[in-house]
Symmetry: C2
């Protein structure tokens, strides 16, 4: 496998003579896979991951998510908490991520600085929300816009190398139309990407219908504000999107972040993902920490297969279960598409690679590379990650 | 926590004076939980765990399970393969297990010897099957019975301390009525426990109806042969058991081994487990390696919650999702009941304990013991297991 100027130049049986002068690293019989892409995670929720698992989404937001997030107004607390999140991301198989911060611009900028130092490539957003959030955590519309502009100015002056700001309305229930429209204008003016949540839970969708009765579907609440930017918007979940919504997502080139661990945990449902893939929608995977208890993208692949198999068995055999190659695609090229030519060892793709040592998965059997790869989904965790490259840079 | 003569004498705020002379071990702020019980696993399938995940049960049996199992006629192969299985069981959080071997009596006796040396408490069975199994792996009825008797004699002479034989008809599709009846007589005469599979997959159940048309339910095919021995039989799966079958299981005190990882993986379905618990049925958890990809009972708990939440969301909100305390109960006392007074730190219970170090699950938050326990289900694996006691014996 040849890496030149941060990009993959190809995979060869024997090294072509023109690359003879490049330094060589030999990983023997270790597995080398493209870096994994986490399209949706919440940095401030990492602190309570793996607890509160007996609650549904909207109760969980009030009991777990909001109380923790508001603590990030304290910069010292934020720094210590984000240190755990960043270290976890660094040691695992993830090379790229789309990250939610909190409403606090300083803590979010601090998180961006810490992430930038790791060498991982990330989008990070200061969260916007001006309604239906506890009083001690909500913003006014004006504050939300003003703080976003300050945050963007601050980040620009920080000159980060690998970390970019992303416009992040929390979700329609907590963002008024004027706020959304202002965020749409900022995204357009500064040519920024956008991330949010869409059609995750049935109660949430009913709520959005009441809040925004003139929109034909939930996605339209973002679209009319210019927040479904062609190929530049990632929407988490899309569990319950109807045909009209799916057509809009396809038209706008929205990348869907399927977050099966979270959809299980807060009991949102089971997205018909193989149907989305067959329709030609763009789909990647997200851990959605801490709606999802695990930050591991191996777990996200496994959970995606789980949800699809149970959906197939329990409700609808017209939507086939996902296979390992499909979830591997989503965790690499599927999510990678949001970052450019990312997620495969194809010529011209950015060189993100993870080296896996599967020595601890003892067996008497001799497996093919494809079988060893399937086992990463079921049996591996961060201890199997022994090397990591991002854009050709060796992290370790 | 006091252990005397291999049993728990109680848990105390301060040590009662009468125990003052006992040696003390201090684990500081580590978690100590009852040892976990794996009620259903296949030792010879461990070798290919985490592969073949895109197949349904009956195809998977033919493509993955039977071809591997027949190799255990070679004692050298069996020993090397079982060494991996035994080591994995030893280092994880499991302290007790019900284990399927293969049809081979020598390899099965060898497995029992290896397990006995670990100090874990296990039931192990030579598998019986005289029909509907590939020609190169099937037994005749006479062979199956004769080999079982030889195996039981051999095991008796081995004088194992912690490992017991268990009668193991594979499942009704592969056991003729005469074989089942002979196994029932052996179990009765030698007062042995019994393990098998029941109502796992809809195609399997249809097949059993055709094979045994005079039985009102699948469980009756075992019961009429005397194989549902009062409180002494464990049946894996029971995903699709109807009211009549459940009544029979309750009457016979059958322990159900719920194997959610396997039920997901080979797409069997979602058992209504909270209903079983509410009915007063005995239910524990099984890894069902390699129908289940993981041998971890932490994963089994997580998968049980997953299956129950998706079942609740997708099909039937009258059967509530399982909570962490319920799956923790199943992994400890629920399955422990099959082994006697096992699975809790209650006075008189056998002292099985696992010491967990959760230091690697970095967070800024201070969690209660209950929250730390919930995190074991979502986030822990064998690296968190730093100490293990079985029947008061310190393994490490």
């Amino acid at each position: 496998m040849v890496c030149e100027h941060g990009r993959c130049a190809g995979v060869f049986e024997t090294l072509p003579p023109k690359y003879a002068s490049l330094p060589v690293e030999d990983f023997w019989d270790k597995l080398i896979i493209p870096g994994l892409v986490d399209l949706h995670t919440h940095a401030p929720q990492f602190a309570f991951r793996g607890t509160g698992g007996d609650l549904e989404l909207l109760d969980w937001l009030n009991a777990c998510a909001f109380p923790e997030e508001k603590a990030y107004g304290d910069l010292d607390y934020a720094e210590r908490a984000y240190d755990c999140f960043v270290e976890d991301l660094y040691i695992g198989a993830t090379t790229r991520a789309c990250v939610f911060g909190t409403k606090h611009r300083k803590a979010t900028a601090g998180l961006m600085e810490m992430l930038d130092e790791t060498g991982l490539v990330t989008f990070v957003g200061k969260v916007n929300m001006d309604r239906n959030v506890p009083e001690d955590y909500v913003e006014t519309t004006e504050e939300s816009v003003a703080e976003t502009k300050k945050w963007l100015g601050h980040v620009r002056r920080m000159n980060l190398k690998h970390t970019s700001p992303i416009i992040t309305p929390r979700f329609t229930p907590s963002c008024s139309r004027p706020l959304m429209e202002e965020l749409g204008r900022i995204a357009e003016k500064l040519d920024l990407s956008v991330q949010s949540h869409l059609s995750e839970n049935q109660d949430e969708i009913e709520w959005v219908k009441k809040l925004e009765p003139d929109c034909r579907c939930y996605a339209e609440t973002y679209d009319r504000a210019g927040l479904l930017r062609k190929g530049r918007t990632v929407m988490a979940h899309c569990v319950w999107s109807d045909e009209e919504e799916l057509a809009l997502l396809k038209n706008r080139g929205v990348v869907i972040a399927h977050c099966p661990g979270s959809n299980i945990n807060v009991r949102s449902g089971a997205a018909p993902v193989s149907k989305y893939l067959d329709m030609g929608l763009k789909v990647g995977l997200g851990s959605d920490v801490a709606g999802g208890p695990s930050s591991s993208m191996f777990a996200a692949m496994r959970d995606a297969v789980t949800v699809s198999k149970l959906r197939w068995r329990l409700t609808d055999q017209s939507v086939r279960p996902l296979t390992f190659p499909e979830v591997f695609y989503m965790a690499t090229m599927g999510g990678g598409a949001f970052f450019g030519k990312v997620g495969a060892f194809l010529e011209g793709y950015e060189f993100d690679a993870v080296v896996l040592d599967d020595e601890n998965l003892q067996t008497i059997r001799a497996f093919s590379p494809a079988e060893r790869a399937e086992r990463l989904m079921y049996l591996m965790d961060d201890r199997n990650v022994t090397g990591k490259y991002v854009q050709g840079r060796k992290l370790y």
